[in-house]
Symmetry: C2
Subunit: 150 residues, 2 copies
């Protein structure tokens, strides 16, 4: 993991659709050598995967919301049951069990408020193990990184 590797990873975190030839040129290696590095990074699992990122605005899921959830019963099985429920929802894009102020934090991507209301019914109101939940609607997204700083 040297300077060139880091350079490649930074390139590919920004745009992985470039050709190997192109990137090789930018980092100052021959295409073959560059390709072998990229393959190594993938084989070693440093590059987990390469994916297409869709434009959220074009997908219809334009409303983002954060929800903190407090459970009544905190046992492992209760936590697992709720997380399973949440994870199964398409509108739930992130779900974390956390320490501190609350038990679970969800990140939602919603099409509209109807979807939010219906989701709340399924995840919170119809459940017996929910003590409280607080919703924070996202007003402004200042940063939303898939890239990891090296």
């Amino acid at each position: 993991m040297d300077r060139i590797d880091r350079k490649l990873l930074n390139l590919m975190q920004r745009d992985a659709s470039r050709t190997n030839v192109d990137m090789a040129d930018e980092v100052g290696l021959s295409p073959s050598s560059c390709l072998r590095r990229i393959r190594r990074l993938r084989k070693e699992g440093i590059i987990d995967r390469v994916v297409a990122i869709l434009n959220p605005a074009r997908s219809g899921r334009v409303i983002k919301a954060l929800v903190t959830v407090e459970l009544k019963l905190h046992g492992e099985q209760h936590m697992r049951r709720f997380l399973d429920l949440a994870v199964a929802e398409e509108a739930v894009s992130q779900a974390y069990a956390v320490t501190g102020e609350t038990d679970v934090v969800l990140v939602l991507r919603l099409r509209d408020m109807e979807e939010y209301d219906a989701l709340c019914d399924r995840l919170f109101r119809d459940q017996t193990n929910i003590a409280r939940f607080f919703t924070m609607m996202v007003i402004r997204t200042a940063k939303d990184e898939t890239a990891i700083a090296l």
Copy 2:
């Protein structure tokens, strides 16, 4: 935007490193036709970009934390000042201005607790406009999707 487009988008959200030939075969199109669709999806901005996702465990940033921040002064310029500060931090992977319980929510990716402590100094303790902040350490990640359900 038909069934085949959606199929392609789902494929590429999971793995965009496959060859066009391969994906064309899976969706039942000729390579040329499939390629033209993918180019159209990119040109229209439905596919925003293609990126490499690194393994967080291999990057050293293994601790995830959520922080809610309450500001003392809520004016636009105060909000902006704090967000600018937060966004500049490498450990801050997401930053949202929100309604409700609090003003700002941050998602942190940390190497260790020292980094957390130092970050708190810079973002919270040294600042005059922070009323309170609550940290929730992530115990379990049940879902963390870059993909958007269509």
